[in-house]
Amino acid sequence: MKELISYKDRAFKCVRCGFCQYHCPVYTVTGFEPLVARGRLEVVKAGFDGRMTGFSEKLMKRMNQCLLCGNCTQNCPPAIETDKIVEACRAASIKENGLPEQLKSVQKNISEVGNITGDQRANRMLWLKNIEAGLEGVKVNRPAEYAYFAGCVPTLYPSAYNIPQSFVRILKAANVDYTLLGEEENCCGYPLAVGGLPEDALKVVKKNIQKLKDLGIKKIVTSCPSCYHMWKEYYPELLGKETGIEVLHSTQLLAGLASEGKLKFREMSWTVTYHDPCDIGRKSKIFDEPRDVINSIPGVTLKEMKFIREDARCCGGGGNLEMSDPNLSGLVARDRVKQALETGAGIIVTACQQCKRTLQTGVRLSRSRIKVMDICEMVAEALMGESNR
């Protein structure tokens, strides 16, 4: 536990009020104290005061059963950043016990082929080849106002292809000058940074920034909240200085386009609810833009859930939980879907491929009748001229 020494005072600031319980999605579905911030901090304290030694397998199992959603931190009376402490435990455990298998392959894949799956670089473009006609002349690796950083999951998992496909359709309809990075796009480094491999993450960070510099591009847009959060928060932190690159999430660009009247919508008769992804919501305060986009589509009614904006509960997909404990992730997802169902909406709109996937799992597990869409998919479907697609 020596590596955690810089967190010692912070951990001991926990007065054990237990107010974190209400805000923790994992605790809400389990009622299990080792899975809430107060319990996690107690174990860290025990490491310092001798009630426990080392990072046992059980301890790390518990630390991995965390969404890193930050809801506890935000509501902690003495403002303890438990999410940061959990991340530090994961990193310290890697130093002590070595990399877990899953992370080993991610590390290797990113360093060899620049993505998390180990796909050959050419596969990054399959989603675009898969698109129906109408997108000839898309720029790839050329100077442009924006680089669309599409991300590993949306470009390499066919079930998520529809998100970047929808986004480029919108960009075309609104006449936005952008380029894809195609085969040369690299992972943003997020899995490395939160997995406890900051040095590896830094290598990726430098490579990605250099790439944009070479193309003379000053702005990127991404439809992935984790990429967004990584570029926006972790890049300057890892580099120790500003990147000089403006980072936009797709919802911010869409809100701008909608307010400038560059998106022409058909009337849609949808009742939707919006799920705030943690990485752009609570962690980056992008709350109004996605709602503005939804409200700009005529005929659409937005019904809010009980927990929204800063208070929004995680979908169950944060903190690599889906990888380390799919059952627990599923329980959290079901709970979030239940909150969505209570609004009476027919569609859950979100702005993240991981949230979409986890929420779909929740819908499947609870046998619910509600659709899940990414906001890009929703906007593309509502665009004028898209009806006969």
Binding site: K13, G18, K58
Partner: protein
Amino acid sequence: MNSYEEKLKAIVGEGNYFKDHEDLLCYSYDATYLTGKTPSIVLFPTTTGQVSEIMKVAYAEEIPVIPRGAGTCIAGNYMPIDNRTIVIDLKRMNKIVEIDRENLTATVEAGVITLDFSQAVDKMGLFYPPDPSSQKNSTMGGNVALNAGGPRGAKYGNTLAYVLGLEVVLADGRILKTGSKCLKQSSGYNLAKLFVGSEGTLGIVTRVILKLLPKPEAKKTMLAIFNKLDEAAQAVSEIIAGGIIPATLELMDNKMIALVDQFKPTGFPLDAEAILIIEVDGPAVVINDDLNRIIEICNRNGVRTTKTAQNVQEAEKIWEARRSSYGVFTRAAQNVLTEDITVPRNKFPEMMRRIREIADKYQVNVVCVAHAGDGNTHPAILADLRNEDEKERVEKAMEETALAGIELGGCLSGEHGIGVVKKNWMIHEHGAVGLATMQSIKQALDPKNILNPGKLWNQEDLKASK
């Protein structure tokens, strides 16, 4: 794993049974500043039948058992004192069984979260008043065990006022069902009420029948700023004496105002010694009249200004400062120790004076907030208990404050309970006969002393008084 542990595991099944050291550490505490012993097993039963089977095993083996809700108690009421302890966590028994509109009652399992319950009731246009500060986390079973209250206690009373019936698993595993949905019950000993505030020492509450109220028609919130703490306390006393019972009547002293202001400017004057937050509810015609009379009383007692919130947002703004108190305390100090001395309401001004005097005498940093309307003081001691000298002074100040409260005809706790923190002072409040009577009841219901042992009173005091 020994043989009784095998039996316990079989009762609750895989996934509801935990015994790894890393997990058990998280069951060695509650929200008190003390750390207890690490228990031996944590069980999550899902039915009353399972709780009963667990108790049969524990009774036969004579192993201590502590029922647990959210673990948000602050007097060491849960805190294990024995490494063999079996923890029965009731959080997975969390169904609201029924809200009976015709009878204005509800039936809930012990693990239902307080706020979830009051919101469910509110949705139906009904009202469950107890509102402990821990309501987002605390469970209904825990509320019963500690007779939880909250700001609204001034007008509406604690949990005790709402318990009509209980299902309780006794020490030997038998299941007691007592009380009913009847509002009037004069049918032998009122056993349900006996278990309220018993802190898990007499049985394990698994289900509760509660009384509900219709939602009050209207509500108004006002703020009164006083130059002198004494005058604010006197105003409180006169409001009550005047026959007006506000739903809440909260007091914050100037230290509290200054601390809150450091984190988020409140707009409250920093030179005022006290602020009262007063909320009245009821029929619209009545509350306006009440408010006018309250303002009159405040004026008589030298109030600097009064301000009535004109809308919900303004009312929220007033409450924000009060609600942030705990957070502010925890940021300002390493340890926060909250006392709960409650005195007859006409003694409230005197108690507030004594608290200040004792704090000065022992050089302890005490911030005063109070549910003033029911005489329930919550002096918060901000300290660093790692400092031995300070720790000693804090302990002395706490004891002297407790004894001062008793001297004024008060009681040790209005809503937090006794636990281990206040058990040594119980003899002063209840006397030898009082403690012996409690002991007789304990002996009758828990002859092997396995239910939450070591709490409520000091066994030495009992021996000495014989």
